[in-house]
């Protein structure tokens, strides 16, 4: 139930939480989500790097806050009233770990049909191919389903990628 990617292909319809990071919309399995928090006091971790630069107090535990926009090279964030931290539970090297994911705006829980998704295109992508599981559609716009296991295994390293002029829009 908590394995992020194992069952995603087993059934056609999956419940996902959709959210924005800059101008891109992402989706992740709703089953992974533990809580959605408003922005709260954060503690910076000097020397930790931009991917997991801070920690927060979540119900008495100290959990890292990860910024997927860093992994996808989406540029600097600006905190707004809509900013949220989505707390998920992921398997890191065999241990279930609570991680807070930054989101500029959280949309809704939607049902996604896996059959209607496509593999990430080989050209025209600004970011690492292995970080994207597949791409769906939401209201006519692309919906990116990230490969969280891969992103965290590589600790969010964006990798060398030339800035492509093409975009998916």
């Amino acid at each position: 139930m908590n394995q992020p990617d194992a069952n995603l292909n087993a059934e056609d319809l999956v419940e996902v939480l959709t959210f924005d990071l800059r101008r891109e919309t992402f989706a992740l399995e709703a089953g992974l989500v533990r809580e959605i928090l408003d922005l709260t006091a954060e503690t910076e971790v000097p020397g930790a790097g931009a991917f997991v630069g801070a920690v927060i107090n979540f119900r008495g535990k100290v959990i890292p806050v990860a910024d997927l926009s860093f992994a996808f090279g989406l540029g600097q964030r600006e905190a707004t009233r809509d900013s949220r931290i989505v707390v998920v539970e992921l398997d890191l090297d065999g241990d279930p770990t609570l991680i807070g994911l930054r989101a500029d705006k959280v949309h809704e829980v939607a049902t996604l049909s896996m059959a209607a998704t496509e593999a990430a295109p080989r050209v025209g992508m600004r970011w690492r191919q292995d970080y994207v599981r597949c791409v769906g559609r939401r209201g006519g716009e692309p919906l990116i389903i990230p490969d969280l296991a891969c992103i965290f295994a590589h600790r969010g390293e964006p990798g060398a990628s030339a800035a492509h002029i093409h975009s998916l829009h």
Binding site: A41, T43, E44, V45, P46, G47, A48, F51, V52, V55, I56, N57, G60, K61, V62, I63, P64, A66, L92, D93, D95, T97, L98, I99, F152, R155
Partner: protein
């Protein structure tokens, strides 16, 4: 006692029995022919067989039955308990343990082999032991059973029949406790019996009759020619004590301490997870109470403040009690090593004696578990490489038995565990050669003796010319060091060539709570473990300006390297006027840390950082402050090392 799986209940009891059997066998190795020890081991096997059968562990019961029969011959004095025999029974015990823990599937062949071995050794050991022939004695046995005994399946007639089988009996029943017919419940037992028994069997045989009901009944056994009257609850403890009364060897001392600790006062079995949960709750309570205190001190409501103080006191006491609850004597660990030493002795062909001190020293239970593997490895190392063969030892004028000494003692907020051997010591030349060969050390580079010895903790390091099955592959010592450091501990070695080596492990008493100094650097708050803080001094703006570009500060007459945490943490904020210098040390080396403000003492619960931050070596954990914010805990060892590097670079540059 609610919905626990009966098989699990048995497993827990079985583990204790197996432990006792093992310790008993090891005691026998040291002092063979002690009848009471033999009887104790036999009783353990007998109980294991009976309970095993009752709970459905048939393979175990069958196997144990054979061992029991074999050991019965020792008990009867027909066979001596030779070291080979004891080893065979020890191996059988391991098999029994496997049957209990992992089940019987696929183990039949192994069991057969062990039994064949046992019988073979038995045949070799045949011959009457130099036992004391027991003279026929007359005993008066008085016993009564609880009212629900028969409902629970105890048949008094069977007990009486068994007593009869020991010798001539005269049985008198007492009907004093039987209620009037109208009140009598037919299934209840209200009778008590007095039996006068004439037998050549030892007292232990009589007690054995009651072995399954011992806990719930009243039993009195009195030799009519004189001496002891013993009540049942104390019967077992008395037997142990009289057995141990004669000789007091260190192993027996430990066993006695353990047996007494278990019998003295009531104790309750609690699953370890519940203790951990409780600890978490107490930790969170401490945090919540801290916030309450903040709110109360900002308020003028006296009632609120007084309640807050009360809660603070209670939370503190609760936390102190929790710390004690989790403490377990290190004897549980040391006990395992006796078996290890016995096996090592046989495997290496060296005579090894393990002596232990400070068995009652207590440690947090989670720490003890994590110490097991490192200590096992260190003992193996000492046995394999440290101690010489008997011939070498004789040639060197040493006693033939190699000495290993394990000791544990409290020292402030730490426990110090040491392992010494009187072997050949560490060969500096070999270590140096290996270090240079591995590129860890430039040939001819100057290095202190202590640093040279620490080289053996490098991964892949081994000066053993021959790899044995025990050690020599070079994967052990670095794991040992990492494990100890994972416990926030340190490991030191000293060694004298020709005389022996001495490993010393220092571990903090608890992993869960830390006394810290809360400081502010820029906008962040950080905790420095108080145990590492030597002193705090003001850093005046002039001193600050003078030291720019340098990284040494003059403290009294010494130079101390220092790190500006503001720079280390890249805060990009300007200096503050009233900076402080906190001097921390790891025993021998020091470094000064420049902070913007010292906020105060803070006792806090340590929270681990996730794996995503495992590579940030500056911090060893985090803690939650009274206002709900997070403060990172500085890793002093890392910072001191960073300071040392800085110092070296400066020394090299000048």
């Amino acid at each position: 006692m609610s919905d626990q799986d009966p098989r699990e209940i048995f497993r827990t009891e079985a583990r204790d029995l197996l432990e006792e059997i093992e310790q008993g066998l090891l005691d026998l190795v040291e002092g063979t022919d002690d009848r009471e020890l033999v009887n104790a081991v036999f009783r353990g096997l007998h109980t294991l067989k009976g309970s095993g059968a009752m709970f459905g562990f048939d393979a175990l019961a069958a196997f144990t039955h054979h061992c029991e029969t074999a050991f019965d011959r020792v008990r009867k004095g027909e066979v001596r308990a030779t070291p080979d025999l004891i080893t065979a029974v020890l191996n059988a015990r391991d098999h029994m343990r496997a049957l209990v823990e992992d089940g019987a599937v696929g183990r039949e062949a192994e069991g057969e082999e062990l039994l064949a071995d046992l019988h073979r050794v038995l045949a070799l050991a045949d011959g009457p032991a130099a036992a004391d022939a027991a003279d026929p004695t007359t005993w008066r046995i008085g016993f009564s059973l609880p009212a629900n005994a028969m409902v629970n399946g105890i048949n008094p007639l069977a007990l009486l029949a068994e007593l009869r089988s020991l010798g001539a009996c005269e049985v008198v029943a007492s009907t004093d406790a039987v209620p009037m017919l109208g009140e009598l419940v037919p299934t209840e037992c209200h009778l008590a019996w007095t039996v006068v028994l004439h037998t050549a069997e030892p007292r232990a045989a009589i007690e054995e009759v009651f072995i399954f009901v011992m806990d719930e009944m009243n039993l009195e056994i009195e030799a009519i020619d004189g001496v002891e009257i013993v009540a049942a609850e104390e019967a077992e403890a008395k037997v142990d004590e009289t057995a141990l009364g004669g000789q007091a060897s260190p192993g027996q001392e430990g066993r006695q301490a353990q047996a007494e600790a278990r019998k003295g006062g009531e104790s309750v079995r609690v699953p370890a997870e519940r203790l951990d949960e409780l600890m978490d709750r107490v930790g969170e309570l401490v945090i919540a109470q801290s916030r309450l205190k903040q709110l109360a001190s900002a308020s003028t409501d006296t009632a609120l403040r007084s309640v807050s103080e009360e809660v603070e006191r209670l939370a503190g006491e609760l936390r102190d009690t929790m710390m004690v609850v989790r403490m377990v004597p290190i004897s549980t660990l040391f006990g395992r090593f006796r078996r290890l030493t016995h096996d090592l002795s046989r495997d290496t062909g060296k005579a090894i004696e393990l002596s232990t001190r400070g068995e009652a020293t207590e440690l947090d239970k989670t720490i003890i578990e994590r110490l097991a593997d490192p200590l096992i490895h260190l003992i193996r190392n000492a046995a394999d490489h440290g101690l010489e063969t008997p011939e070498q030892r004789l040639a060197a004028g040493k006693p033939i038995e190699g000495q290993l000494t394990l000791s544990a003692v409290h020292s402030g907020a730490e426990v110090v565990i040491t392992l010494s051997d009187d072997g050949r010591g560490i060969d500096r030349a070999k270590v140096r050669a290996k270090a240079e060969e591995s590129g860890l050390l430039a040939p001819g580079a100057a290095i202190t003796d202590a640093e040279l010895l620490q080289m053996i903790f490098q991964p892949g390091f081994s000066t053993a010319s021959a790899i044995t099955s025990l050690s020599g592959r070079g994967v052990g010592m670095d794991v040992v060091k990492r494990t100890i450091e994972g416990l926030r501990g340190t490991i030191d070695i000293t060694s004298t060539p020709g005389q022996g080596s001495h490993m010393s492990l220092r571990i903090p008493l608890t992993l869960a709570i830390i006394d810290g100094l809360l400081v502010r650097v820029g906008e962040g708050r950080y905790v420095i473990p108080l145990a590492a803080v030597e002193e705090c001094v003001e850093l005046s703006p002039e001193q600050d300006a003078r030291s720019t570009g340098r990284s040494m500060i003059s403290l009294r007459d010494e130079f101390v390297p220092f790190l500006r945490l503001r720079e280390l943490f890249s805060t990009n904020l300007p200096s503050e006027p009233h900076q402080k210098l906190v001097v921390v040390s790891t025993g021998e080396e020091r470094v000064g840390l420049v902070v913007d403000q010292i906020i105060g003492d803070h006792q806090t619960v340590i929270k681990a950082l996730s794996k995503l931050h495992a590579d940030v070596e500056t911090f060893s954990g985090a803690t939650i402050l009274g206002d709900g914010g997070v403060a990172l805990i500085l890793d002093v060892a890392h910072l001191v090392a960073a300071g040392q590097q800085l110092e070296k670079r400066l020394a090299a540059a000048s």
